[in-house]
């Protein structure tokens, strides 16, 4: 079952930007693309834990700020020659508010 939680207004995240949500099990990066889609991923690059929320967002991708690996925001997969995947979580916008699915955020700890 989904349990959506309001984490704040969409305007609080710059277009092509990200903000971090603190959870008991580490930070989640919430991205906003130029087209106002939102995505939530673990805020840790599989390479060396770079904070993805600080990367440059282009299309539906983000470039890690530490060594420029590029990740697809939709799937969390590394692009090109790099290999790795970041966990992704359901996120959506409703009436200007960004919502995350708490169930998923909690479940990841069980994994």
């Amino acid at each position: 079952m989904s349990d959506w939680i309001d984490i704040g207004p969409l305007e609080a995240i710059a277009p092509r930007g990200a903000r971090v949500v603190k959870t008991a099990f580490g930070c989640v990066a919430v991205f906003r693309t130029a087209k106002d889609e939102v995505y939530a991923l673990d805020n840790a690059c599989p390479h060396k834990q770079g904070p993805l929320a600080e990367g440059i967002v282009h299309g539906a991708k983000v470039t890690c700020p530490l060594h420029n690996w590029v990740f697809d925001l939709e799937t969390g997969h590394a692009q090109g020659a790099d290999e790795g995947q970041v966990a992704t979580y359901p996120a959506r916008v409703e009436e200007g508010r960004v919502l995350l699915d708490v169930e998923f955020l909690n479940n990841r700890t069980a994994a």
Binding site: P15, V21, K35, E37, P51, A60, E74
Partner: protein
């Protein structure tokens, strides 16, 4: 038996429903039609041509008095229904009449949304929904020197603005988002649209936030934005969205969400009440375009006539009804890993087309400038056509399907001699071929002799193909390194084109230079951001989202995600007070490491991202500003103690260093720039391996440039021998600006000087007029950028450094 049907609202949806009903069942119904507007059904979407003067109101009336009469409709126009009693099956009209119904059809449309800004209830603040609004705008056109502001850069707002402009009104569109019609268009198409509207004399302000409507004697006078800008106006049109008109439904206790809820048969939660049009909600969706409403109208008629029918939501497409702005958008054009884009741009014709493909199907389309094929593409979206066999030529439209894909070389070879190759300079293929026969055998020579591709450069590829086709194997098309995967142009080409075509925004660059991606990548965006701000400091607004983290957050990110903080120490000088403030900050924010850098200042390493604004504010209080240790910009100016203390010192090296740093700080450059000033040739400040280095001598100052001591070690080259401090400041500034205007992004000065040659640099800087102009342009840029970003962020952006939310509690539960 004839049944009683009461219809609330004579709108586009209910009008169509009645037509369909009378076609199915001409005798079955006794209809009473209420309408709040004092008139019957008309084609609301054609109010825009009425406003612009391209049509009259009479031409857009859809149902005449005769039609109502022939079909036995009792018209109660100008009368509202104020209540519904669903148990008694009656409605109450405004004048108190109570009418019984067998079936009730609700078609109340929507209400325009009015932002509750202070002053929204002033006279002269209107929406754009009906004939009254349209007439108010038309009337404004008769007033000399009338001004209007339209809030909202969507479909309606732009049609209002275009109509007003055609009526001679001075119009400004204020839009909160970064580009126009963001719900239907991507940035590139939004850019072209904006350009076309600007050409029509409409002022467009994007990313603009309205704050207050200013009035005088109860009448609107101006709109004030949150940055303090005041836009005077006689009329203010708000076109910011609509809300389904649900009040009657709510009062009657029907199921209501965003709209009045209906099932697939368009029946509400009461079996005798149907609803149609913008007031309904179906499967969670609400509607704002007529195409789906007409489908609903058919279903309503069937349901009333006792036939089976179900409403199914379909894709919708949008066109803007502004003459001269051809645009089309349909489907879904968001990015995604499984999605691919096919993009076609023809900058000269102002054409942009983009198809979004997923699993070999077109799922979205945006086109601007040439929408002739839009129906073909829209059909493909609706039908889910498999496009794998025509992928290569798909974007060229139906006319090009079936043929062989063209070999570009063969295509050029087949061109006649009088085919134009270079549009800017009017050079034909024959001219180029003639030049080649006369010995011009590379691009540079063709540019020099014919001017082909020497202006905007977009025909460079074609010119090379003509060279290839004419010279055969003797000519190898050069493969200069393009900027990145988004373009075939080199950095140098892009810089030249930004200047020559006066491109002043990223969407302008992407469109005019034919970018292959929708919004660039992490390689080109930072470079473009620099080129644009360096060339258009006053017009272009720096884009933090196109900067690497260090420059976006004004601190160096560390491998563990913390940051380092380096305050400026002008010319390497500090004071006990500054040192105390640094020590206090280090204690207060638990800074684990304090290091004296190689640039004569102090680095606080390991500061948490969230603490940055606070530590900056503390350092600001002690008079310190950002040291830009993170920037492709001015870093440090190292100095030695110089004449004041040292027994060999010839000049005031410390004082000159401070002056240089105060002049140059804050400016952005292609790569970082470091300076040093040594008091004598012993060179204790290591000035001979800096980007700009000054060595003081008895007779004055030796100014060297293009040194390095990083990955390459290189001694500076002498730019000039000078006699006064003012001259040093002037020459150093001119060199800095020349570098800013010409170098490729991420070339340190020594790499750039190696490319253009020290002689050329000297020529520019030695010529007095050129030098002074360079300094002047530098100062213009500094009027924007010579400021402390730490103070600015600590004051206005501090909250963006903190997490947006803290779910530690929630998650633990």
């Amino acid at each position: 038996m004839v049944k009683k049907l009461v219809v609330i609202g004579a709108g586009m949806a209910s009008g169509r429903a009645l037509e369909e009903l009378f076609a199915k069942d001409p005798e079955g119904w006794d209809v009473t039609l209420f309408n709040a507007e004092p008139r019957g059904n008309y084609n609301r979407i054609m109010l825009s041509p009425v406003l612009s003067g391209e049509k009259t109101f009479d031409e857009i009336v859809t149902h005449t008095a005769e039609w109502y009469e022939e079909n036995g409709v009792t018209c109660r126009f100008g009368e509202k229904v104020v209540a519904i009693d669903k148990e008694a099956k009656t409605v109450t009209a405004e004048n108190g009449d109570v009418l019984a119904y067998d079936k009730l059809l609700m078609g109340m449309g929507s209400n325009p949304f009015i932002i509750p800004l202070p002053g929204h209830d002033l006279d002269g603040v209107i929406a754009y929904r009906d004939l009254e609004d349209t007439n108010a705008m038309i009337a404004l056109g008769d007033k000399p020197e009338a001004k209007a502001v339209v809030i909202g850069g969507g479909l309606l707002g732009l049609e209002a603005a275009a109509g007003l402009a055609l009526r001679g009104v001075d119009v400004t569109v204020v839009h909160i988002m970064g580009h126009l019609m963001e719900r239907q268009l991507d940035e590139a198409a939004g850019y072209l649209l904006r350009k076309a509207l600007t050409d029509k004399g409409i002022k467009v302000m994007c990313s603009a936030n309205s704050k207050e409507i200013v009035g005088e004697d109860g009448k609107v006078k101006a709109l004030m934005l949150d940055d303090g800008t005041e836009l005077p106006c006689d009329l203010l049109v708000m076109a910011v969205g609509i809300r389904p008109n649900v009040a009657l439904g709510q009062a009657a206790e029907l199921a209501v969400g965003k709209g009045i809820r209906v099932d697939d048969q368009m029946v509400t939660s009461d079996e005798n009440i149907l609803a149609v049009g913008e007031c309904v909600e179906h499967n969670g969706a609400i509607f704002g375009l007529v195409a789906p409403l007409y489908d609903q109208a058919k279903v309503v008629a069937s349901t009333l006539a006792g036939e089976e029918a179900a409403f199914v939501q379909k894709e919708v497409s949008t066109k803007l009804k502004v003459t001269g702005c051809d645009l089309f958008s349909a489907g879904d054009f968001a990015d995604g890993e499984t999605r691919e884009d096919i993009v076609f741009r023809d900058p000269a014709r102002g054409v942009y087309k983009r198809l979004v493909i997923e699993e070999n199907k077109v799922i979205g389309a945006v086109m601007y400038g040439d929408t002739a094929d839009s129906n073909w593409f829209f059909g493909m979206i609706k039908d889910g056509t498999d496009i794998s066999d025509m992928r290569e030529t798909l974007i060229f439209g139906p006319a090009y399907q079936g043929g062989e894909p063209l070999d570009p070389m063969a295509a050029v070879a087949a061109l006649p001699d009088d085919a134009e190759i270079c549009g800017c300079n009017g050079v034909c293929k024959g001219d180029i071929v003639a030049a080649i026969k006369d010995g011009a055998n590379d691009l540079g020579a063709i540019r020099a002799t014919t001017k082909a591709s020497a202006s905007c450069g977009t025909c460079t590829g074609l010119v090379e193909q003509v060279l290839g086709a004419t010279l055969g194997d003797d000519f190898v098309i050069p493969t200069e390194q393009p900027m990145c995967g988004c373009t075939d142009l080199t950095h140098e080409d892009v810089r030249r084109l930004i200047k020559s075509q006066e491109l002043k925004s990223m969407p302008a660059v992407w469109q005019e230079l034919g970018w292959k991606t929708t919004c660039g990548c992490h390689v080109c965006r930072p470079a473009l951001n620099f080129y644009l701000l360096a060339d258009w400091p006053l017009e272009y607004a720096d884009d933090p989202q196109s900067r690497f983290i260090n420059e976006r957050k004004h601190a160096n990110i560390q491998k563990d995600g913390t940051y380092s903080v380096v305050p400026r120490m002008w010319g390497g000088m500090t004071t006990p007070d500054e040192l105390r403030a640094i020590a206090d900050a280090a204690d207060k924010y638990n800074v684990p490491t304090v290091h004296v850098t190689g640039g004569q200042r102090i680095d606080l390493l390991g500061v948490k991202g969230e603490d940055l604004p606070a530590i900056w504010a503390d350092l600001n209080k002690a008079g310190m500003v950002s040291g830009h240790a993170y920037a492709k910009g001015l870093r440090t100016v190292k100095t030695c103690v110089g004449r004041d203390h040292c027994r060999f010192g010839t000049q005031d090296s410390t004082g000159l260093g401070i002056q240089l740093e105060k002049k140059l700080w804050g400016s952005w450059t292609p790569h970082k720039v470091k300076l040093a000033v040594s008091g004598c040739p012993r060179n204790c400040a290591e000035a001979t391996c800096k980007d700009i280095g000054v060595v003081c001598v008895d007779s004055g100052y030796q100014l060297g440039v293009a040194g390095a001591a990083g990955m390459d070690v290189k001694e500076t080259e002498r730019l000039a021998d000078l006699t006064t401090e003012d001259e040093v400041l002037e020459y150093a500034t001119a060199f800095m600006q020349l570098y800013r205007e010409n170098a490729k992004y991420l070339d340190r000065p020594y790499k750039w000087v190696a490319k253009v040659g020290l002689d050329w640099v000297k020529e520019q800087v030695e010529d007095e007029a050129t030098r002074k102009a360079l300094v002047e342009r530098f100062e213009i840029s500094q009027s924007v950028y010579r400021k402390d970003p730490w103070a600015e962020h600590a004051e206005t952006k501090a909250e963006t450094y903190a997490p947006i939310a803290n779910l530690v509690q929630e998650a633990a539960e």
